[in-house]
């Protein structure tokens, strides 16, 4: 299976995503420059973390107009997988691939720590390898990760089982203290209506090796592999 990892000016987690896919998962990957119009046959597109366009205007606001985004949106509309991590999640929301927006963290601080996530939705393309309710340890590193949407949108996400991950404490409860950025309903990741686009602020690609302190992110990539095929 081939992963296409988009590099925007200011992306800085593209190499981490490459390492996760090639070294940890053992699959093929290619970097896709943002000015290209070619996904190079990628089965799965990754929008990686970073600070595309210096976060000017709003995080992700300018990257969504990069030439390759037209192909990424078409890829998603065909029902093909897109994994949008951190800045990638912000870009996916700006591009309308996912609802809502990511705002400045409630405490106004860049937050870099390992958090606990509860797996909420297991049928999705990227979460099939997890058990419902399973608690993962995955790092976050962001200043604008507070997921916001109006109540009707949040209800629709909940009702359709489109919340993939929530921030929880060690007992698996969605407390305010376990919420690192003030996200609505402790939401850490959501999927598109068809389940093929996953946006999440935490970094699964940084949790694929015991040396990094957690391997809980690996199953996310394995889920896509199992679903899309080798």
């Amino acid at each position: 299976m081939k992963f296409g990892i988009v590099t925007f000016p200011g992306s800085n987690c593209d190499y981490d995503a490459y390492h996760a896919v090639v070294d940890a998962l053992g699959e093929e990957a290619a970097y896709l420059w943002h000015k290209s119009h070619d996904l190079e046959g990628a089965d799965v597109v990754i929008l990686p973390g970073g600070f595309s366009y210096g976060d000017y205007l709003r995080a992700g606001a300018i990257a969504r107009f990069s030439p390759i985004m037209r192909e990424v949106v078409a890829h998603a509309e065909r029902g093909a997988p897109v994994l949008a991590i951190c800045n990638g999640f912000q870009i996916a929301c700006e591009a309308g691939l996912l609802p809502g927006a990511l705002l400045r963290n409630q405490e106004l601080k860049f937050s870099c720590q390992v958090v606990r996530l509860r797996v909420e939705n297991t049928p999705s393309l990227f979460t099939g390898g997890y058990q419902a309710g399973q608690i993962l340890r995955i790092p976050i590193a962001h200043g604008e990760g507070r997921f916001a949407a109006d109540d009707a949108t949040l209800d629709a996400l909940d009702d359709a089982g489109r919340v993939a991950f929530r921030y929880v404490d060690a007992s698996g409860d969605t407390t305010a203290a376990a919420n690192p950025n003030g996200s609505a309903r402790n939401i850490a990741g959501i999927t598109s209506e068809r389940g093929n686009v996953l946006g999440m602020m935490p970094h699964p690609e940084r949790a694929v090796d015991p040396l990094l302190g957690s391997v809980d992110g690996l199953a996310l990539f394995q889920s896509a592999l199992a679903r899309v095929g080798a």
């Binding site: 709003r58 927006a101 109006d150």
Partner: protein, 85 residues
């Protein structure tokens, strides 16, 4: 075609948590500005553009806000002024 300067205010939507505004309000209170009820911190954008008329410049600026400058999910915008030159 004439040249116009369009001033645009973009602010967080009312009702949404605005921690930056809250922090500034707290600082103003500590300076003794006790009458301050609420603060909203946004962006001020000035566009210099060619347009056929002031109305046309205003319309184009609104379109720019809707498509790029403001996030329709979380922000409101207003055209603060259009001036020639």
């Amino acid at each position: 075609m004439s040249r116009y300067r369009v001033a645009i205010h973009i602010v967080p939507r009312r009702g949404l948590l605005d921690p930056q505004g809250k922090a500034v309000a707290g600082a103003l209170h500590s300076l003794g500005f006790s009458g301050v009820r609420d603060v909203h911190v946004g962006r001020h954008v000035v566009i210099e553009t060619e347009a056929e008329s002031a109305d046309a410049a205003d319309r184009r600026a609104r379109e720019m806000c809707e498509r790029l400058l403001a996030n329709p999910v979380t922000e409101d915008f207003e055209i603060a002024g259009v001036s020639e030159g």
